[in-house]
Symmetry: C2
Subunit: 484 residues, 2 copies
């Protein structure tokens, strides 16, 4: 992408047409001659469900929902109103697909859990993959959690309790227990026989077969495509990859995501402190982490903790409040700088009129730099190796743009107020403002990172404070010096 205004009109089609959700299995009922399935975009499905609820046609709703993939059903539940959702849940409750929980937004999932019996929830949990089960259970309050754990079959309970011993957001919580591990000395033929004989004991999907020593420590991994193309007599050890990425159970999930993304992994073994194989992380779980990781930074830079679109009004209000309160304090700080120059403004009111220009330019330029820096820190493109170079570059960019805008803004202000000296004052302030914005936009996130504080959360508050304070000081200070 070359330089130029941020323009990306290719989103048009994606924005205009919501994606179509497939309806129903290929059982002939919803297929036309070419064997195609029915598809419908989500807003249409929501509309249909609303109509059927009004007409009390719960039977039609049941048919529709049983045809939907659980991910699409989750989206449907999320986007109807609260009352409609209650009714829908009554329809769904008897034959609930446990997979639905994994796809639901956590606020909606809480609603569902609250209306169901512990026994029902436990039955669903027992059928889930271990990572989805842990995800659901860790969100529950103490009491409910105890109830549901008590209602679980012994093996499932043991798995969940063990999973909960791993730190939140670690590989141990992300992994599945279901995997395929074979001894070192087996041949391809023996592996195939084993797989055919194991039937339903195997994981539903797997992409690698892990090779373990007698102590169950992992010594290699074979992609199953490689197994398939080898002759029966070949030893698995001979076709195994030995330098694999072993993921310690305590590894942070963002580290795990980095590995998958960097090396194009589809699955990776998880080991305990002794190197024993205890689970596997699958790429679709990592995709969720990658999504959340980028989304997290986007939201934090905007001053929110969560996509609270599904939360109730009061919860959302409270969640938004603290960020606004912090910004209120810094806004008063910036105001106090202006307060130092009350006398100056009384003499030249034009200065008050131009304040938004000063604050705006500094804030925007600083935010540009800050955004690039925060993202680059998150993706490890900005590190100790190139930090100084980056700071220097952004300061220079700030100085150059500052000079350009000194001319533009200075000319505009000078013409507006028919006073060239006002133009000169605001022009000089521009150069200072944008130069400082470039420095602040780099040094603040880098400094916060060194102090082990998440830069996405805290940077923008500090940044706007700095650009406002410096901007107002430079502008009003120069005005007091030069014009009076």
């Amino acid at each position: 992408m070359t330089g130029g205004p941020p323009e990306d009109v290719r989103d048009q089609d994606a924005l205009r047409d919501p994606p179509a959700r497939p309806l129903g299995p290929a059982d002939g009922r919803s297929e036309d001659e070419a064997g195609e399935r029915d598809y419908a975009p989500l807003p249409d499905l929501v509309q249909q469900v609303r109509e059927w609820l009004d007409q009390n046609r719960l039977d039609l709703i049941e048919t529709l929902t049983s045809d939907l993939h659980s991910a699409d059903l989750a989206d449907l539940l999320e986007q109807v109103g609260a009352e409609e959702r209650r009714l829908l849940l009554q329809v769904l409750r008897p034959n609930l697909d446990p997979e639905l929980f994994a796809h639901l937004d956590s606020s909606i999932r809480e609603e569902l859990v609250e209306i169901m019996e512990p026994r029902e929830i436990a039955a669903a949990v027992a059928e889930m993959e271990s990572d989805d089960a842990i995800d659901l259970i860790e969100d529950l309050d103490e009491e409910r959690r105890a109830e549901i754990l008590a209602a679980l079959p012994a093996e499932a309970r043991a798995q969940v309790e063990e999973g909960l011993t791993y730190p939140e957001y670690s590989a141990g919580r992300l992994m599945q227990r279901d995997l395929v591990a074979v001894p070192q000395f087996w041949t391809v033929g023996k592996v195939l026989d084993f797989l055919r004989a194991s039937g339903d004991d195997l994981p539903e999907e797997f992409y690698d077969i892990f090779i373990v020593d007698p102590m169950h420590r992992i010594v290699g991994s074979v992609p199953i495509s490689r197994v398939m193309r080898s002759k029966r007599a070949v030893k698995v050890q001979d076709i195994a990859i030995e330098d694999i990425h072993k993921i310690p159970a305590t590894m942070d999930q963002e580290e795990v995501a980095f590995l998958f993304r960097q090396y194009g992994l589809v699955s990776a073994p998880v080991v305990d402190a002794a190197g024993r194989l205890i689970g596997v992380v699958m790429v679709d779980d990592v995709v969720d982490v990658i999504d959340e990781e980028a989304e997290d930074d986007l939201l934090k830079l905007g001053g929110v903790a969560d996509t609270d679109i599904y939360r109730a009004v009061l919860d959302t209000t409270k969640a938004r409040f603290s960020w606004l309160a912090i910004n209120m304090v810094t806004a008063f700080l910036a105001a106090s700088v202006i307060g130092l120059f009350e006398a100056t403004i009384e003499r030249i009111v034009a200065l008050a009129v131009l304040l938004p220009v000063v604050a705006g330019m500094g804030g925007n330029a600083g935010t540009q730099t800050l955004t690039v820096a925060v993202r680059a820190i998150a993706t490890r493109e900005l590190s100790d190796a190139n930090a100084l170079r980056f700071v220097g570059k952004e300061a220079l960019v700030g100085a150059i743009n500052g000079s350009t805008f000194a001319l533009l803004v200075g000319a505009a202000a000078g013409l507006w107020f028919r006073d060239p000296m006002i133009g000169v004052v605001i022009g000089c302030a521009m150069v200072v403002n944008l130069f400082v914005a470039g420095l602040a936009g780099t040094l603040i996130p880098l400094g916060l990172t060194k102090l082990r504080i998440d830069p996405a959360v805290a940077s923008s508050v500090f940044l706007t404070t700095v650009t406002d304070v410096v901007g107002f000081f430079a502008f009003l200070g120069l005005a007091a010096l030069i014009l009076l």
Copy 2:
């Protein structure tokens, strides 16, 4: 996540310790007794390379770089300075792994392409996966592109030219040609024999076997784990999944990413207009798209088009300029509102002092709403189905927080200037400001989406204009009415 200030200190470990990059294959040279490999974090590698460049130990550099995975080597090249990179490239050039190109940031890749001969580049391109080859070639200027295409072997050239006929950012550009397709009537045994006989003709990695009819139209797909656990006599058609997600070659890549993310896919077949199987999209390519998609929105909300961290100073300056210019215009617009009340400010200078508080609160609250809205539109959580409900909710949240801050800000301002009426005026302005910010933060992105303009690009400009204009008008207007 429950409500509360945005706090996420779990990033600490990830921030403190850059991830370790593996060095070298498991060939005994760099392993200790437990068969572990050497690992080193990137900043250390950069440091080492710098030292060796100073000492002119190019032989040591060559050993180190030949041990690195191409993704890590790409990171190394990205983070050294420009002069160091030139020297490194001289060392790497004779034995360049074509995979390196796929991992390099596009600005750095341009540098590499510029110093290499067309013949060299063509040799690398011929060994790449078709999607990586197209990615490289589409970025070249006309002249260079023609040179390299001319130097390609006929088959590779045909593949690339065909790939270029698909729209940018479509599935056709994302897909690989290498796949495994078998006729409908084959048995598992025949498939295994075929795979064993095909040897190197097979794709290096594959996770599904596609089943085609005599016209090469896709009729089903079998995950290879399922093939492996079935007996030789079983017909593949009997174990195939028929209702698969067929991706038209023209589908937008963000749609493709949606499908993979929604349904947890690992690979998906790409078909032409007649339903014939022409390629396959793999999950690791989609992971890149998902990453970029979220990153894109994050950057656009901050007013930048690109993570320009690797771009030269002047390119970056130009790229930043247009966004700042647009904001300059809107800042003057907001200033002109203040200009209407020059007389009022001359009489009560305190009003000028409080302007940043008014502008800041509105802008921040509006940005919170806007950020949630833009993200929710991108993930399809906000659609026609729940748009109205969302607007109503945010307006209500704005009104409630507006009332709370009316009290806080009003009290602070009243105390500061020892004039309760100033507190009343700014308090009323707060309610109006935050209520309007909630409306604007929802209606602007929704409106832009309806007009098929990317909301992430344009929303924040409109938003701050609205909140500033309305905020200043309400504050100064009320002041003129009440205090004078």
